[in-house]
């Protein structure tokens, strides 16, 4: 993990004090709601259907046990005893009171956490591969760059009022687990000659009402040139991005309207004009961050397996190990993915007791470190293989041992109409019904990598466009109705799913998804994913399977 310094600590404390004074002035009537709203949004505080909602940043999804324990304590003291982990690797509280929010921010600041830039038209929390730094297939650890981006973009005065929100994602592996091609800017790190790091840049991806896959924009930039180049992109976007229509304000629209070559030219011209002396520190700062990462003290020759006979005889453990444990770069270690998707549960939610317990498990078995994934799960990134059984036993005790990672019941669902003021339909109860139904099927079938994502409106916070099976909740004449899309992908071969037919009623969604999965299982060839099968056989047979 990155070790925050005094500057970071003082920044979050000052910001918290500033917000306390803004809240006091609001409550005293010295500022109106219209004046206060942008200020509270800059501190992650929304007003939703039932209450305020506070979104807390988890920079690039990395959490310590201490921070997770603090999040649990906040859930108990100021909320209703649970938190919701989001597709931006953040956490949301659904019931905070305005009058207590300054106290919450103080508590967060005590563990170097905050809610800055979790809302508003600024550069949002940078996201990355949840296996960053530990993945067996990783080429470059993306965390130092994420930290550099965090420092550069935090309270950057030039980019506080962009045309629209702006999202970065970073990966350092050929297999993209950070969905970089559906972000405003996606960065792919590669190793260059002489231990250097080079970055490929993708621009203009996004979802919402106009889903776009990012276009390849710039190749192999060394670290010393990267921030000035990103600054040039941001400046061009800030200057030319549309402000007349919020639905056309993202950089994906600027790219579509301007054209790739012209936009690249504009960025190059801006890049040439940037005063590079202000960026001379980058290489040394990058090296400093690399040096500041607290690296786990891995055992040189760890035991690779446990001799406990009970592990051999537990089919549930075997299933969990097969589905939820991923290869680690360090021999003898594993990455354990903790599913926040118990069958019939609320995707991404964890109770305060679960949060505290998992913080303890991380402390005992994973070097006190946790990650949040954009699929709304948690990760124990550094588990000795010989400890896996004990970890699984501990997870069983807190109902977080569902062996369903990357299976259809590992559903991404946004808060939808149960919480969100922008929603057109519910997502969570649909996800609950789908996972209950499909879990039985998937236990009997050898399924690989089928994603189901459910959004409660066209804003697509659950990334339904790039799911193998996407579900979009709409309101049709006062009744919830769900559009189904198939064939999306969010990896290195990212693609937008296609609508397969008319929307279905809420009660019919679980059956429709089961039919899609069953049809896929019937016609797939060897290792084909659902989206591969969809590409091969086309829309009609799937449509027939659902509606026929």
């Amino acid at each position: 993990m990155y070790r925050y310094d005094e500057l970071d600590q003082s920044l979050v404390e000052q910001r918290s004090a500033e917000f306390r004074s803004q809240v006091e002035r609001r409550l005293a009537g010295k500022i109106s709601e219209a004046e206060f709203k942008p200020l509270r949004l800059m501190n992650g505080l929304y007003l939703q259907l039932h209450a305020y909602m506070l979104r807390v940043a988890i920079p690039y999804g990395v959490l310590s046990s201490k921070q997770m324990t603090k999040l649990a304590d906040i859930a108990d003291k100021y909320d209703k005893g649970y938190g919701h982990f989001t597709t931006r690797q953040n956490i949301q509280y659904n019931w905070p009171k305005l009058i207590e929010t300054p106290d919450i921010l103080d508590e967060l600041a005590s563990v170097q956490m905050h809610a800055i830039q979790t809302s508003g038209n600024c550069i949002r929390n940078v996201t990355t591969d949840p296996f960053a730094g530990v993945a067996a297939d990783e080429e470059v650890d993306p965390r130092p760059l994420c930290e550099l981006l965090r420092q550069w973009s935090t309270l950057h005065p030039e980019f506080a009022y962009l045309p629209r929100k702006f999202k970065f994602a970073v990966t350092g592996s050929a297999v993209d687990r950070a969905a970089i091609k559906v972000h405003d800017i996606g960065l792919r790190l590669k190793s260059g000659p002489n231990n250097t790091v080079l970055t490929d840049i993708w621009v203009g991806g996004g979802q919402g009402r106009t889903p776009k896959i990012a276009q390849f924009f710039k190749s192999a930039l060394p670290i010393r040139d990267l921030l000035p180049y990103l600054e040039a992109i941001m400046r061009v976007y800030n200057r030319y991005g549309r402000r007349d229509n919020k639905y056309k304000a993202r950089i994906k629209i600027l790219l579509a309207e301007t054209g790739l070559e012209t936009l690249q030219q504009q960025v190059e011209t801006e890049y040439e004009s940037i005063d590079r002396t202000a960026f001379e520190f980058i290489e040394s700062e990058y090296a400093r961050i690399v040096g500041s990462l607290i690296q786990p003290e891995y055992l040189a020759t760890p035991e690779t397996s446990t001799s406990d006979a009970s592990t051999q005889s537990s089919p549930d453990f075997k299933a969990w190990r097969q589905q939820n444990v991923k290869p680690h770069k360090q021999p003898g270690y594993s990455i354990a993915v903790v599913s926040l998707k118990p069958a019939g549960g609320i995707p991404g939610d964890a109770t305060s007791d679960q949060m505290r317990a998992i913080a303890d498990i991380a402390k005992q078995y994973s070097c006190s470190e946790l990650r949040v994934t954009h699929r709304q799960n948690l990760i124990l990134p550094n588990v000795l293989e010989s400890d896996l059984f004990k970890v699984w036993e501990s997870l069983v005790k807190i109902d977080l041992a569902e062996a369903n990672i990357d299976l259809p019941s590992d559903i991404i669902a946004c808060p939808g109409l149960d919480y969100c003021a922008l929603a057109t339909a519910r997502s969570i109860p649909i996800a609950q019904s789908v996972s209950k139904k499909i879990r039985a099927t998937e236990k009997k079938t050898d399924l690989k990598g089928v994603s189901v994502n459910i959004s409660g409106c066209i804003n697509a916070c659950a990334h339904h466009h790039v799911a193998n099976i996407g579900v979009l909740g709409l309101n049709k004449g006062g009744v919830e109705n769900y559009q189904l899309t198939l064939g999306g992908r969010n990896d290195q071969n990212a693609s937008i799913g296609q609508r397969i037919g008319p929307g279905v009623a809420a009660d019919d969604v679980p059956q429709a998804i089961e039919r899609i999965v069953n049809f896929y299982v019937d016609v797939r060839k060897s290792d084909e994913s659902l989206s591969d099968t969809f590409d091969r056989v086309g829309k009609e047979p799937f449509k027939e399977a659902v509606y026929g």
Binding site: E33, Y82, I99, G345, T351, Y419, A423, I428
Partner: protein, 104 residues
């Protein structure tokens, strides 16, 4: 208030807590929907104007009229699903955690 509904009620969010509150016939705010004043089309706009004063007084945010029907003379039924959920709380099934309801 639309022509499809028999009545309306006024809903807002409490500034301090954010919780849903209902405008009462005592021109006050209550967290209980039972206390909501049932408004006819004749009185709705006039009462909304009075409720809106409390927005200026920094007590509530965004007071607005919500369509409601009174069934069998007693039961209040809100016309839109969005407002039904606002009033009754999240509709989450069973739930893997406690206390998601509005009342909790």
């Amino acid at each position: 208030m639309s022509s499809k509904a028999t009545h309306a009620i006024i809903i807002a969010n409490d500034l301090r807590t954010g919780r849903i509150v209902y405008f009462t016939n005592a021109s006050d705010w209550s967290e209980s929907v039972q206390d909501a004043e049932l408004l006819s089309s004749d009185s709705a706009q006039e009462r909304l104007a009075i409720a809106a004063i409390d927005e200026t007084n920094n007590l509530v945010i965004d007071p607005n009229l919500v369509d409601a029907n009174v069934n069998a003379g007693t039961e209040l039924q809100l016309a839109e699903i969005r407002e039904q959920i606002r009033v009754s709380g999240p509709t989450i099934l069973g739930s893997n955690h406690a206390a998601t309801s509005q009342a909790a």
